[in-house]
Symmetry: C2
Subunit: 305 residues, 2 copies
């Protein structure tokens, strides 16, 4: 079933201990859409400038992603540059040029509005809400957020996530949002805010899914080399939500069982791990569904006892 994805499409400059690229395709919705495209039909909502390269457009279109909702506006594409620490657990932003993204006011194509799955990438809560309101009869709404919105637009964020089914958030942000250091307590505090399914991303330590009193813990795939972690969390989200859409999983009717949600988390981890193997979106240029399913099976070996 189709998935609508909204978020940034960008050009990134990235430096890690394993290399440096001054300008390459990036942005949350790019990673989400590419990852999800292995599982389901994706409808992208975003904005790019006149400098957006045809080959990048072709990469997305080539993965079957519907780009009707990707506006091309006068000006330049959002640009972000950052450098990672030696252990890649921290990164420093060197430059953020919003460019055309500063005036992003998403208007969904009519055909997108009745799609059953919606993934709101990490953008301003007000924009996430605006997109949400344009959708009708959505089955599963999931979204991501970050410290900037938690700190600066907290009330707006709380208003926004109230009707989400799934909140995807990293561990430090979950603590910032809830004031709880313990993840189980943090998840419970998030239930009170609305989302009844909480996924806490833990970077190199994997991900945890909380739903009611149930918990599922997935490790990260033990890569021998992380070339570039940019987009790993978004690829995780794309894999997770892509799998839910592929399987037609409904989170409200109680039809979703934990093993099915757990498999979605593992597919998320699989997609995050592939993302890290090369710079930017490069790994998605060659990645096949067979490789994805093979790594999914490898996760069984890594965790079976």
């Amino acid at each position: 079933m189709s998935l609508v994805v909204v978020g940034s499409v960008a050009y990134d400059g990235v430096e890690t201990p394993h290399g440096r690229v001054d300008r390459m395709l990036g942005g949350a919705s790019t990673y989400i859409s590419l990852a999800a495209s292995y599982f389901t039909k994706v409808n992208l909502v975003g904005i790019v400038g006149e400098d957006f390269a045809q080959e990048d457009w072709d990469l997305l279109a080539g993965r079957g992603i519907d780009l009707t909702g990707l506006d091309r506006a006068a000006g330049k594409t959002f640009y972000w540059a950052g450098v990672y620490s030696e252990d890649m657990n921290d990164r420093t932003t060197l430059r953020t040029d919003l460019n055309v993204f500063a005036d992003f006011d998403p208007e969904l194509p009519a055909a997108y509005r009745s799609k059953p799955y919606l993934l709101l990438g990490n953008i301003q809560p007000a924009l996430q809400r605006r997109v949400r309101r344009q959708m009708d009869g959505t089955r599963v709404v999931a979204g991501d957020t970050m410290n900037l919105w938690i700190n600066e637009t907290r009330e707006e964020l709380l208003e926004t996530i109230r009707d989400w089914h799934v909140l995807l958030i990293n561990d430090s942000e979950a603590r910032l949002l809830t004031g709880e250091r313990n993840l189980r307590r943090a998840a419970r505090a998030i239930y009170e805010m609305g989302p009844q399914t909480v996924i806490i991303k833990r970077g190199e330590y994997g991900a945890a899914l909380f739903r009611g009193e149930e918990v599922f813990l997935a490790p990260a795939y033990p890569l021998e080399q992380v070339s570039d972690p940019t987009g790993a969390g978004d690829s995780f989200a794309g894999g997770f939500m892509g799998y839910l859409a592929e399987r037609g999983i409904d989170l409200e009717s109680g039809r979703a069982d934990m093993p099915e949600l757990a498999r979605a988390v593992v597919y998320g981890s699989v997609m995050g791990s592939f993302c890290c193997e090369d710079f930017g979106v490069n790994r998605f240029r060659t990645l096949s569904r067979a490789e994805i399913d093979s790594r999914f099976q490898e996760f069984r070996g890594l965790t079976a006892f």
Copy 2:
């Protein structure tokens, strides 16, 4: 099958965000022995002073631990005091009084020397080697170490671990020992040093077992409150090695299959999680094997997909 455990027996003063105790039973071999005692017969090697309380002796003896090798010397028992950070990921040592431990020169009781399992707690490598040499026909030798020995007695440590089957080490120490940040590469570097089974303890993120090209990843149990993490790593080691001894697992003949080793790691995680639930060794005063097996089953639910 019997397990010989060597390491410190101590009194600890501990402060965490959840409380403070000025003096209570502690020490690596205390935690290891208590945890392992749920699985196998334990033979403790250590030293205490004249101040060692009868009730503490009784607690160990009451769990069936053989104390023939626990010397009682003139002077005071090893004393350590520390305070944990708010998130409990760091701790500051406030006091270390070696006392009788300064002259610890372990001489194994004759009956211990032919036991098939040996777990060398985190003490000076020279002492670990002395104990190792007194053993005869040991089936599995496992040991722990720490940054102090890696930094100050590196050559001695390398000489010591050369014939160990299992090295138990935490993640930052594995990096310090090998110079490799990536855990898979670190494990491979440790194989070169001798141990062919490497267990990397990751605190609140669980544990990873490496053997050849195989990897098993166990999460930590998602406790809602960690009262006191002191001894969690030692309890992990006790549960891991206790299970190997209970099952009579041999690491050299190739009889050990990964699922069996993986189950040992999960039992280690189970024992570490119980340890954290209360201050010091308190949780072991009431813990039952039924509770342990029940939490082991809970781990299946936490990781199944």
